[in-house]
């Protein structure tokens, strides 16, 4: 177990800069998830920590050592790759024990560690197979097992679940979480899937274009997104954003609909903003959560409905923007129907129209 510190970490390929000075402190035993859209530099960052990419600038500290110039083998970390990266010519047993063999552990120690990992990951019956004879999920478990046997200071995961089908992914997500609770190592986990990030992380690091946009616990980034990028990236369905202008203590949307200012915000007259409402906070009347002190109401025409069983996602038109709302205890909804929606104002967000930054004081 070890802390990890990234200080002003920079990566460029020639003139092309892909990671622009990242600062991040990861505590011992913490599960940190780097999340962001494809190409934002998550893998590059992780691979720099692993030592698979040179560092163009800044510093990486693992434990109390600056590891900038250490090769991967001297960093005592384990990595799980997106494509599993198993050794095709070795059996599952040899794959699992390989790092220990390289570390010149005794055969007894290797067997014990391999059997323990195989037990944890339900790989025992597969130990004598080659990776070619395994399913995707099984290969993934071998890749994880290979990481576990090492008892490394830090686990690195690069989109380990993205090649699995949806059901297996959910299952493995739970496995990874349990595993972390059991071994308690520091974990840096890369994904582009915000649900994975939310469910796994102690802390989420949201990245965009080689920068860190926000760092926080899953609830913090969900409840207090620093800008519209985080607001729409985290949470499903994504937060609705409606352009508007502050006027007389109200927000006037493009089509003239006026909505009271959410509590806690003070805006200069005429300030152009974006009103952010999550689908959970805009619901058809009669199918909503109990009203609170700060409610607003709007009428919207339904354009589409997606029944999910316990709730229905209703798409409706508001001020020229398509808004997604949730309907609890759903009833069938017709396209074209006009419904009255209740908005929980105290849960709404305001962002600057130009910079996209949160206007929360």
């Amino acid at each position: 177990m070890a802390q990890v510190h990234l200080k002003n970490l920079v990566k460029s390929y020639g003139a092309l800069s892909v990671v622009h000075g990242i600062n991040l402190d990861i505590a011992e035993g913490e599960f940190v998830v780097l999340v962001g859209p494809s190409g934002c530099g998550k893998s590059t960052t992780l691979r720099m920590v692993a030592g698979l990419e040179d560092i163009s600038g800044g510093e990486i500290v693992i434990g109390d050592r600056v590891v900038n110039d250490l090769p991967p083998r001297e960093r005592n970390l384990a990595m799980v790759f997106q494509n599993y990266a198993l050794y095709p010519h070795m059996t599952v047993r040899e794959n699992l024990g390989f790092s220990l063999k390289i570390a010149k552990k005794s055969q007894g120690e290797i067997d014990a560690a391999v059997n323990e990992a195989a037990e944890i990951l339900a790989l025992t019956p597969l130990l004598d197979r080659k990776p070619g004879a395994l399913s995707g999920g099984q290969r993934q478990r071998v890749a994880m097992g290979r990481a576990i046997v090492r008892h490394p200071d830090v686990f690195l995961f690069d989109e380990p679940l993205s090649n699995l089908d949806a059901k297996l992914r959910t299952q493995m997500r739970v496995e990874i979480k349990k595993l972390h609770q059991k071994v308690g190592s520091t974990v840096i986990y890369v994904t582009h899937d915000q649900i994975e990030a939310m469910t796994l992380a102690d802390r989420i690091v949201i990245m965009r274009d080689g920068h860190i946009v926000q760092v926080g616990t899953p609830l913090e980034v969900f409840e207090n997104p620093v800008n519209t990028f985080v607001a729409t990236f985290i949470g499903s369905p994504p937060m609705n954003l409606l352009p508007g202008v502050a006027k007389d203590g109200q927000i006037v949307l493009a089509d003239g609909t006026a909505i009271p200012l959410p509590p806690g915000y003070k805006l200069a007259e005429g300030r152009r903003i974006q009103l952010g409402i999550r689908a959970d906070n805009i619901m058809p009347e009669g199918h909503a959560l109990p009203p609170t002190a700060h409610m607003a109401h709007v009428d919207m025409k339904v354009t589409l409905s997606e029944p999910l069983g316990t709730e229905t996602v209703v798409y409706a038109q508001l001020s020229g923007t398509e808004v997604q709302a949730k309907m609890l205890n759903p009833r069938p909804v017709q396209t074209g129907e006009v419904l009255r929606f209740a908005i929980a104002l105290d849960k709404c967000h305001l962002f600057d129209a130009d910079t996209g930054l949160s206007l929360k004081a």
């Binding site: 198993l86 050794y87 790092s99 080659k130 070619g132």
Partner: protein
């Protein structure tokens, strides 16, 4: 009376059958048959006298034949292993080159483009004891005081022949291994780095097992080449002096065309072919096993 009509497909394939029969099947059967006879080129009537195991018995009990046989196996073993090592090294170096790799690859293939006869003459000149490059260089550097009889001493001559073989054919290995290196998956290599491997260990445990099928393919191809090695040896030493560099095929060639004992030569030829086949089958089995190890089942 109606003429029997051949089906059209057979009719259309007939020219191919006939040509194949004329150039492959008939000579093959004829040579096999002649190996059962005391056929002598200057006495055609000997072709009609079958004396089956005689030629084979004679070959198998002839010490000269076994010496040539052993020398061929020795040459094969040394040349193939040297070529494999050098080719591997060459391929690894070329794969690391960032610029001009294409040109290097082309240059690497130059030796393969020469006729083996020319290569033989070239090395005969290089190793010539009076005017050869090697002796001149050794003497002018003061490393040797007298001329070394490269092509006269049996061991030295074998060494010189191996040099020529290696010079000409290392690129077969280099190119096939390079192809393997290009196809090498990067992920397991990175995993090995993180798993604690030094560069040597990564090579030993990940790269090399992956390259083995490519190496065995090259071995199989080259084993066919070397087992029929004739031209280079014929030009450089002619199997001599005093049969000290005699290989199977120089022996067979001399027996057949110089001594005109074609029946006996053909019998030895068939034994030599068995040797070739044995080597090829051996490497092919190794190849299959290496592929199975990599999970590349058929």
């Amino acid at each position: 009376m109606t003429r029997a009509k051949l089906p059209p497909w057979l009719l259309l394939l007939m020219p191919a059958f006939l040509i194949l029969a004329a150039v492959v099947l008939v000579p093959l059967l004829l040579s096999l048959y002649s190996s059962f006879t005391p056929y002598h080129l200057t006495r055609p009537e000997t072709l009609w006298k079958i004396n089956f195991p005689f030629n084979y018995e004679k070959a198998l009990t002839d010490l000269g034949f076994w010496k040539a046989f052993g020398r061929t196996v020795l040459l094969l073993t040394i040349a193939l292993n040297l070529e494999m090592l050098l080719g591997l090294g060459l391929a690894l170096m070329v794969s690391k080159v960032q610029r001009g790799q294409r040109t290097l690859r082309t240059m690497m293939m130059f030796p393969m483009m020469f006729s083996p006869i020319l290569v033989g003459f070239m090395f005969k000149f290089i190793f010539n004891d009076n005017v050869g490059l090697v002796n001149n260089a050794l003497q002018s550097m003061g490393l040797a005081s007298t001329a070394i009889p490269w092509l006269v001493d049996g061991n030295l001559a074998l060494f010189a022949i191996i040099c020529a073989e290696v010079w000409m054919s290392t690129s077969v290995f280099a190119i096939l291994i390079l192809a393997g290196l290009y196809a090498l998956p990067q992920d397991p290599l990175e995993a090995a780095k993180v798993d604690g491997c030094t560069p040597w260990q990564s090579f030993r445990y990940v790269t090399l097992p992956f390259l083995m099928p490519f190496i065995y393919i090259a071995m199989a191809i080259r084993s066919l080449d070397v087992a029929r090695a004739y031209d280079i040896v014929q030009v450089m030493t002619g199997g001599g002096p005093a049969k000290r560099t005699e290989l199977l095929w120089t022996m067979i060639g001399r027996t057949g065309y110089v001594d005109a004992r074609m029946g006996y030569a053909n019998a030895m030829g068939y034994i030599a072919i068995l040797l070739s086949i044995a080597f090829t089958v051996y490497f092919f089995l190794k190849l299959q096993r290496a592929r199975r190890e990599l999970g590349m089942e058929d």
